[in-house]
Each structure stands twice: as C-alpha cells, then as structure tokens.
Symmetry: C2
Subunit: 340 residues, 2 copies
Amino acid sequence: MSVTIKQISELCGVSRGTVDRVLNNRGKVKPQTEQKVREVAQKLGYKPNMAGKALAARKRDLVIGVVLAARGNAFFDDVLEGIRGAGRELSDYGVSVNVHTMKGYDVNQQCKLIREIGRNVNALIVNPINDPKVASEINRLTECGVCVITLNTDIEGTQRLCYVGSDYILGGETAGGMLGLLTQGQAQVGIVTGSIKILGHNQRITGFRNIIRKKYPNIKVADIQQTNDDDDQAFIKTEEMLRIHPEIDTIFIVAAGVMGVCRAAQKFHPNNDMTIVCFDKTPSSEQMLKAGIVKAIVCQQPFTQGNKAVHLAYDYLVSGKKPGQDSFFMKSEIKIEENL
Amino acid sequence: MSVTIKQISELCGVSRGTVDRVLNNRGKVKPQTEQKVREVAQKLGYKPNMAGKALAARKRDLVIGVVLAARGNAFFDDVLEGIRGAGRELSDYGVSVNVHTMKGYDVNQQCKLIREIGRNVNALIVNPINDPKVASEINRLTECGVCVITLNTDIEGTQRLCYVGSDYILGGETAGGMLGLLTQGQAQVGIVTGSIKILGHNQRITGFRNIIRKKYPNIKVADIQQTNDDDDQAFIKTEEMLRIHPEIDTIFIVAAGVMGVCRAAQKFHPNNDMTIVCFDKTPSSEQMLKAGIVKAIVCQQPFTQGNKAVHLAYDYLVSGKKPGQDSFFMKSEIKIEENL
DNA sequence: TTGTATGCGTTATCAA
DNA sequence: TTGATAACGCATACAA
C-alpha cells in the first residue's frame, strides 16, 4: 500500500494541510516543520495519488486550449481525433479541452488566436508558425502562467514546456531507406518538396540524403522542385521535371501535393513502373497507395501525437510536474497497401 | 459539468444509496423508484466518473494476475514492459498487477499455474496454449467470477472476456506485400516456419499466400520447412533447403530461429543478395537487420498489447463494463534499419 | 426497501 | 504559521 499525506501528517504530528503546503510549495510553513515533513515524505517514498488529485482537480475546472492550423489539411484529422479522444478520457478528471482550428499559415492570424484563446486557458497546445511574432506571443503566455506545448512543429526562442511531434530527420531517413530497398539501390530520384522555407521539409530531405549517401551510392538526386503544398503546382512542377529529366524513375514526395505529383507521374509512366514514396496518410495518399502508384507511405503517428500532447498538458496542470523530456518524437511508421 | 449520482438523487427525491443500487443493479429497490431513477439518469446522460470510482476502488484491493509463457523468449520482453508499465500507471487507481512467467509450452504446468494464481486474483491475463485442458481451467476461473483475458494467442471454447494480440493473417499479408515490393514481384521463396501445429504460424503463411496469389503471380514458394523455433534446427533445415533448392533467392521466416536461418543463408549467399523478411524485433533479428541480412521485420506492437490487456482488465474490474470488442488486434508494423 | 454515515487521497477555505 | 473541516464522486456497511 502506498504512502498518503495523512500518514505523513500523523508521523510528523502536524495536520494534512501543512503537509500539503510543504509538498506543493505553497509557502507559509515554518522552516523546521517543512524540513521535517520533507524528510519523512522522502523516507517513506511518498508519491501523490493521481486518483485523489484528479478528483480534487474537478473543483478547479481546468481548461486546455488547442490552436491548430489544421483546416483544409487532411493530415491533421487524425491529430484532432487524438486530441478529442484525450479530451473525452480526461473529462472525468477535471479538465476540458477546447479546440480551435485555423486555415493556412498566416502569422498575424495565429498570433491573434493565441492571444484570444490564451486568455481563458490553463494550458495551450499549438502548432506554431516558426516566426518571432508567434514566439513572443507564446512567451507572453508562459509568463502569465499558461503552459504551452508545441505540437507537430516546434519553434525556437520560447519557453514552451515541450515539443510533441514528428522527428523529421528520422522520417526522411526512413523514406530514404525504403526507397533504397525498393529500388535495390539503383535510382534517379526527383525530389518534390513543399517549400524550402519550411524546416520540417528540409529536415526530411536532409535525412533522406544522409541515408543514400551512406548506404546507396548509386541513387542520384536528379532534380528538386517545390509545390507549396498545392496539387496544381505539384502537377505542373512534376510534369516539367519529368520532361526535362526523363531519366527520373523514382520520386520522393516530401510534403503535400501527392495527387498532383502522381497525376504527372502517371502521364509519363502509365504502367506504375515508377517508385514513389510519400509522407502521411490522407485520403489521397491512401488512394494512390491502393492504386499501386505510391509504393509506401511514411507516417508519424498523428493520433498519438495529438493524444500525447493533451495528456502531457493534463499531467502538468494536475500534478504540476514537468515532462521528463524536452521533445517527444513520434515513431516513423512505414505503411504499404497491406498494413495501411 | 457532468452529472453525478448526488444530482440524480436530489432530482428524484431519493438518497444517493438508492441511486447507486439502481445504477449498479444491486437490487433491493422498489420498481417504481428504480424506473424513475433510470429515467432521470438516462435523461441527464449520466456517465460514472472514473476518478471517483478509482478512488473508491482502492478500498477493495483488486489484483490482476498474469501468466505468461515468456521465459527464454525475447519477444515477450516488450510485452512484459507494457504490462509492468500499466501496473505502475494503475497502482494509483486501486489495482496491483502480479506477473508470473513460465518457460516453454507445457500444458500441465500452465494449467497448474493458472489454477494457483487464479485463486488470489480478480482478473487473469494469459497467453494460453490452445489445448482443451487449458480451456477448461480458464472456464473454471470465469465461473468463479474471475475475468480472463487472452494475450498474444487466443484459445477456443472459453468464456474469456476478450483477446488482445497479433492479427496473424494481417502480419503474413504485410510480410507478403513487403517481399513483393522488395523483389519487384520476382522471387523463389523458401518458407521457414516454427511448427505447422501452431495456429498463428499457419495464419501468417495463409496471409502471405493470399497476397502473393493476388498481387504477385511471379513469386513462387519453392519449399517450406519447420524449425520448432530452434536456432540449431533452423540452421540445419535452411541449409538443406538451400542445397536442394539453389533457385531460392528469398526467405520468409515465420517464427523464431532467425539467427539459424541467416547463418545458413550467409553460407550460400555471402554477399547479402538474398531477400529475407522475418517477424518480431528481438536482439538477434535486430542484429541481422543491421547487418543487412534481414531486409525487414514485421512487428506486432508488443508493448501495446501487454499494456492494453492490463487496462482492459482494470476497466472491467472497476467500471464493470465489458470491452467493446471481442478481439483487439494490433497493427502490423514494418521495421527497416532506419526506423527500427 | 430506503437512508445515513464514513472513507478513499487531495485540495481549498476558513478560522485560530 | 497552523489546524480543522468540507468537498470532489463513488461505494459500502449499517441503521432504520
């Protein structure tokens, strides 16, 4: 049976209230008393009981806010599922989760949303645009005692509690390893990325290049194009790329625009004899995989990352203790048609 | 804010005790009262609060027992991690988890262990040997009110609460799909299985055959051998197989014995030009993957299956409600060197 | 058949 | 600076 505050209070000859004040650093305790309580708690190996904490937390009506640039981006559907699922699980434990989505990546809009939501919230989960304005908005919140967790993308220069999301380098390495296996190490690759301004996209390419340099010397990168995550641009850019580089037999799709790339690829190689690997399960990438056009999808546990972010926020709010790590990286999952 | 028993009792003009009796079917309530309470609870959408339940459950000192044929089988290390992890998480919520492992698959020993452990336990988690004796031992337990969950392998003819574990057919399909991609659909396959008496092994082969029949007509199965999950036998059988069938360029390892198979493969193909796929991450399969001898490992979320089984047992013991499904199948995960 | 009292571990509020 | 008490939601023993 584990140790309780009551037991400690009896052993110390003080009241439960006092022990609570010591253990939760609420001050207003005589140093000697504090000393004694800490000693006893330490010696007995006191670990706060989560069920008790949770029940008491109900009275505080804690709120976790979520600001996600997710609208119109199918990838985030599963992330939102994970967030909402955690919200349901935790509704019994005294917290509610408020989700706000926005469309696109407008810095000012995100700042405004963070400021508004942040006002009525004990913790905030956000996929920040990597911009100083957003960073200072986040820092303002943390100074007001609101804990901020970054989700899916991280941001520099902030006091965020932690990051939860993809390991983009690892994702790129996994895609590289998979392409190496699928092509038996012989390939002319066209890389189609979203934007060279986006850190995550670049990190995926870095990981990819690491692996082919190390393990697959006969895989060459013939060209690299940007799509701005848009299917129409993806089609145009890929078409042009394949026209100029007819030797390309393999495409590494770094970000969105999968459908556009595949349409162009089909135009030049109507019988699926290209090796295409992309990221993230969405209705369109799934469709391309089932059609045999995309050979493998590298995923990043979207449900788990949403779910985990909420649970970390909850733990911090209720137990007051910080997560054990600065960053929680998701696994890189390989999906083919059979295990989709 | 969600509805509580207290609120219902006030609205109905009865005591909390009565509402509790109705909602938990303890009887001893006048039909009219019961009717009324049910109506109100229904209308308000009453959902029991888990934190409260958990706190009250502490007084009952619930015990979850685990009997696992795991000793000497590295696959189960992660399963045990998941079980122990869940035990730690739930220790705050009024349950303790007692783990007992056994070595090998002796029916009588397992029966004995189930009987002994079952005596002092509210729920039992077991990876049963598929044998009538074990089945009747399990049924005896359920009749005594002990809930039984099967883990990793299922058993027929029992009243077990549910099954948690691998989807062996899916695993075989995934391995088949992966082999198809890696060989570009051209392969002479040698299958090395554990035993044709073991259902899971056969299901993996079934899944494998399904996929190559459907998608890869040019993949042929040249031979199939049994190893009894023993590395020495695996070496001997594989060596013989490769001698008799020099055309074999691809090996599908269904069960244990990975090291033995790989040693034999290396003997005939010293430069890693074979395509080998196997199951389950263990120190030896991991080593073979890193050496480039095994090209991919299909995994079955060992940690998650252990963790989930314990949580399901907990939910049943504390909330009294049965899991939503008869079987909880794990995902099929593809591991290559990069995302190991 | 029903109600009341008590306890699970923690936290908040008052009063001292 | 401390202690006593009530409350969170649920379960149970006991009294009526």
